[in-house]
Symmetry: C2
């Protein structure tokens, strides 16, 4: 099939232009690393379109920082100073979300995760960002901390033109069903199989 | 297996530290989109480490431009102005490589591709970059324009600490064999199956 050619034209009553501009729900799942990396790669394109980028990392440690964070913070400053690209917000669950007055409950990650989702829901309803990266968001769903059906309903009904990328292993089936694009990265060969240790600039 | 734990310790006589710092040859292949996107995501981490990033796109059109190009050019300027991150060079085959005095032979892509590889080989020998992205480089290999065995020999013997990421469908077996890390992205579900057209910020 030639690139850009669609295999079926859906009977959804939309024009090609409307269909082209439909906001997407993207899920990057599977057991391999590279899920977040690919999501941040997509976010580069969104940044270049001038979209407001909102990253929400559902990671437990406040200390854990990937190179993408520094790079996107730099791109956010480029936008603030020159108007090029889009604005960038980067939030981490860590030991408390940055918008929260609470220090974050080192012991109650479920509560922290629910607070993160509540804020994302508010932003979705306000159509605050053009692109959301909900990094490792499948885990609080998988562990039952956040209700999958509520998330799917909220995402399905989101107003405006907001793209959402969700990463993490074991994406719940209801989320996969609701997604427009689901990508899975498979390992063909990995250096850790041959005793290679994780290294700076590659793994973080 | 816990993250960061290796499954075997190779009898290569290297210390863990040496092994941790081994430069990697990475291949992103498979039929899905997302190969280049993931490679550029990895390059964000390298940029944050202060590595010199060299991107070489083996694409035919000079007009084709992905959002990542603008974002990395912005990051390169951030480096030049503030010293943050690493320097960035972005070269496209298009209608002639930027370093070339020739206009580029719109008709002889094989010749253009060989010229690109000759320059990359020079840079590898000089250890010019910390990270190379050879985007869509599998195609000139597949079409026999550039000799796979020569490429593999050159990559295997590259001096210093240079990471190389190669993207494109149908990576030749000799290249896969030589690689430290091979990633393949599989489609679980794609919007073009449902008549979704490619769109700005997502597909480019």
């Amino acid at each position: 099939m030639p690139q850009g050619q669609v295999s079926v034209t859906p009977a959804d009553g939309l024009t090609t232009r409307q269909r082209r501009n439909r906001p997407l729900l993207v899920v990057h799942t599977g057991v391999m690393k590279g899920k977040s990396t690919a999501a941040f790669g997509m976010a580069l394109r969104g940044w270049n379109q001038g979209w407001s980028i909102g990253v929400f990392q559902f990671v437990k440690s406040a200390k854990w920082k990937v190179g993408e964070e520094e790079a996107f913070r730099a791109l956010g400053r480029v936008h603030d100073e020159t108007g090029e690209g889009g604005p960038v917000e980067w939030h981490k669950m860590g030991s408390g979300w940055s918008w929260s007055r609470k220090q974050g409950s080192e012991t109650d990650h479920a509560e922290d995760a629910r607070e993160g989702w509540a804020e994302i829901r508010r932003r979705l309803r306000d159509a605050r960002h053009g692109l959301y990266v909900l990094d490792e968001f499948t885990y609080p769903l998988k562990w039952g901390w956040i209700d999958v059906d509520e998330v799917v309903a909220e995402l399905t009904d989101r107003p405006g033109h907001q793209h959402v990328i969700i990463t993490g292993r074991d994406a719940p089936q209801a989320l996969v069903d609701a997604a427009d694009l689901v990508m899975e990265t498979t390992k063909v060969k990995h250096p850790m199989d041959a005793g290679q240790k994780g290294q700076r600039g590659i793994e973080w």
